[in-house]
Amino acid sequence: MVITAIRQLLLWTLVCGLLYPLLVTGLAQAMLSRQANGQVKGLVGQDFSQPGYFYSRPSATAGKPYNAAASSGTNFGPNEPKREEQTVRFGKDAPADLRYASGSGLDPHITPEAARYQAERVARERNLSVARVEELIGKHTEGPSFGVLGHARVNVVLLNAALDNRGASK
């Protein structure tokens, strides 16, 4: 029986551990190579420190914020005093998603409210009208997928890239 067990283990290691991931890789590369190679823009969040950009949520990744090589949340419980320390950048009346870190530390999104909350600062820094910035936010706001799945959101990376492009074309 032990011989059978060894043979079975080796066989399934080959099939599930090698052939299956290779088959998925082959099919994915053939049909969906952009997605399979992580080339989709704005999937992973970035850190923004210049006031002319919309800020991302706080991030607890190791080493530096939005370190994509070491995802992590803060793991602070709701009564933990340290949890409030990360909110310093925005103050108490900012929308909650902007005050608290995401689970991955790599969230590319903020809520539309959190984007509008920052519109005035960004407009001031870039010498734009608030209305123009809010228009951009509106353009980058996605509702829940198919109307039911997930949450309304603004992709900070794409929104900031659009701000930059706008400047370049001006």
Binding site: L11, A28, F48, V148
Partner: protein, 539 residues
């Protein structure tokens, strides 16, 4: 909220056809040609039906060898190919813990995936065990069902045949499909070097890629839960969109729900499957609604693209099933949200539970329910035409009590043993909850964590590793023993005194039994952790 109801409806609607199909695949006489190749290659004699001891030995031998192989792969990965970041071998204690974790379908992760494991370890070691540990749960469930169906015989089926059928016909095709759907949403699947890009502010950002989708698919379908990345399904590359989140969340409960029907079809009484599913939903729906309600507005540890509701739904589903993947950080849940996730595990992973093992877990509770009901009216209890007698009840008690007997002493030691206590991140009752959660998660083969706890320490690695093994195999052994004992008995025809086990009344009684067992064992501990914290939270 609509997403919650949509998920529940889909789970219920898909469970039956899927269960029918799985039953067709797993419970048949003829072998497909591919299967015959497998049997010939591995020297399996398909006509040999195993008695319960042979079946249990085969399960144990297969998994202990798996343990050794995963451990070796982790330790030697530094010398092996497919290691783009040139990670050194994993530390012995962490490697032991991880090997125990993956062979027992727990997938507790003391390590951070993208900072510890080479692609080869993730594929050959971890992905493989994701498949076969899930398959084993279903195999044992099938052996158990055959024991109930058989009359005066010994055979429970052949483990190798069950394993082959389950892996080849159920897990592999579904995983392939889900993996490709996930790639379509942006989950990487590549064996080329990771991408480095410049952020808008000109910083360098290295994004580790790899064979992610193939592992995420089976970790969701096989109630495994061990992520490719540290942040698991919070990570935008494991779970990039609300749609990928919906599919992954659906996958958590899909097979465990279908198992109700697979079991019922195998024992030849369809109504039993609906009764078990109803009992599970009777606890799942209200607790999940509570979790969603208390999590609204709590953004710490949650991703904006999923929102609070879909995060709370996942948190409840992943702890109800012994999946353990997370799309939000459970440590940052509100006290009552954390209470729901703890409770789901401490019910013994029988509200859906792991694939196969959740089902045989809830049937142990059914046996307690018919036994207690039988005592009340003074009749020998019966289940599916088999008399439930002293030996079965002893084994049922073992199977049910092993979990609290592992979890509670481990919690007790951890709160007085200084190094274990020092691993805690949060202060106050929440710190105790971190310890309770870790022990509950490993002791129920769940694998999720209140991740503030520094789990990669000798105590949690070594004791936790042993606890995961015991809670997996010391339940499988009594379950198979019951199957062997019931298989040897005659069927007694149902009489006027037989307690029907599929009436709404019995479902309600079963729910009561599950709650009472869970409450008696764990309410003091829950009172010290999340409930005490909730009172502080209210202040």
């Amino acid at each position: 909220m609509l997403e919650f109801w949509l998920s529940v409806v889909l789970w219920v609607a898909l469970a039956y056809p899927l269960g029918q199909w799985m039953h067709k695949m797993l419970d048949r006489e003829r072998h497909y040609r591919v299967e015959n190749w497998v049997y010939r290659l591995t020297g399996v004699k398909t006509d040999q039906s195993m008695d319960w001891k042979q079946y249990a030995l085969a399960v144990l031998a297969f998994h202990l060898l798996g343990l050794a192989l995963v451990y070796l792969l982790e330790r030697t990965q530094g010398y092996l190919p497919l290691n783009p970041f040139r990670f050194a071998g994993v530390e012995p204690q962490c490697a032991f813990n991880t090997a125990c974790s993956f062979i027992s379908n727990t997938n507790w992760q003391a390590y951070g995936g993208e900072t510890t494991m080479s692609w080869l370890t993730q594929m050959l070691g971890l992905t493989t065990q994701n498949f076969v540990s899930a398959a084993t749960g279903i195999c044992v469930m099938m052996a158990f069902a055959r024991g109930l169906r058989a009359t005066e015989s010994k055979g429970l089926g052949n483990f190798w045949v069950d394993l082959t059928r389950c892996t080849l016909n159920v897990l592999l095709p579904f995983s392939l499909l889900l993996a490709l759907l996930l790639v379509g949403q942006g989950v990487p699947q590549t064996l080329t070097q990771p991408a480095a890009l410049a952020t808008l502010e000109g910083q360098r950002q290295v994004i580790p890629l790899g064979p992610v989708a193939s592992q995420v698919a089976i970790k969701q379908l096989g109630t495994n839960g061990g992520g490719f990345y540290n942040a698991n399904s919070c990570h935008p590359l494991e779970n990039p969109t609300p749609l990928s989140n919906f599919l992954e969340c659906l996958a958590i409960l899909l097979l465990p729900a279908a198992c109700c029907h697979v079991f019922a079809l195998t024992v030849g009484d369809r109504r039993q499957g609906w009764a078990l599913l109803a009992a599970m939903l009777a606890l799942f729906i209200p607790l999940c609604l509570l979790c969603i309600h208390v999590e609204m507005g709590n953004w710490e540890g949650k991703e904006v693209r999923f929102g609070e509701a879909a995060s709370a739904l996942w948190a409840t589903a992943t702890t109800a099933a012994s999946n353990g993947s997370v799309n939000c950080m459970h440590d940052s849940l509100t006290p009552l949200g954390g209470f729901v996730t703890l409770l789901m595990m401490l019910f013994g992973e029988v509200i859906f539970g792991g694939v196969g093992c959740g089902l045989y877990g809830i049937v142990l509770c059914v046996l307690v329910a018919v036994f207690v009901a039988g005592l009340m009216v003074g009749r020998t209890p019966e289940y599916l035409g088999k008399k439930v007698e002293t030996y079965e009840i002893k084994m049922v008690s073992l199977g049910i009590l092993i979990m609290p007997a592992l979890v509670l002493p481990m919690v007790g030691v951890a709160v007085v043993y200084p190094p274990a206590k020092a691993a805690v991140l949060n202060s106050g009752p929440h710190g105790f909850s971190e310890i309770l959660y870790a022990c509950a998660s490993m002791g129920n083969n769940n694998g999720s964590a209140f991740a503030g706890l520094s789990a990669n320490t000798p105590f949690y690695n070594l004791v936790g590793g042993m606890v995961m093994l015991f809670s997996r195999f010391f339940i499988i052994i009594p379950v198979l023993a019951i199957a062997g004992s019931l298989a040897a008995k005659k069927h007694v025809p149902a009489s006027a005194g037989t307690l029907p086990t599929c009436s709404p009344l019995f479902v309600a009684w079963l729910v009561a039994v599950i709650v009472i067992i869970g409450a008696l064992s764990f309410f003091p501990a829950l009172g010290l952790g999340p409930l005490a914290e909730h009172l502080r939270f209210l202040k």
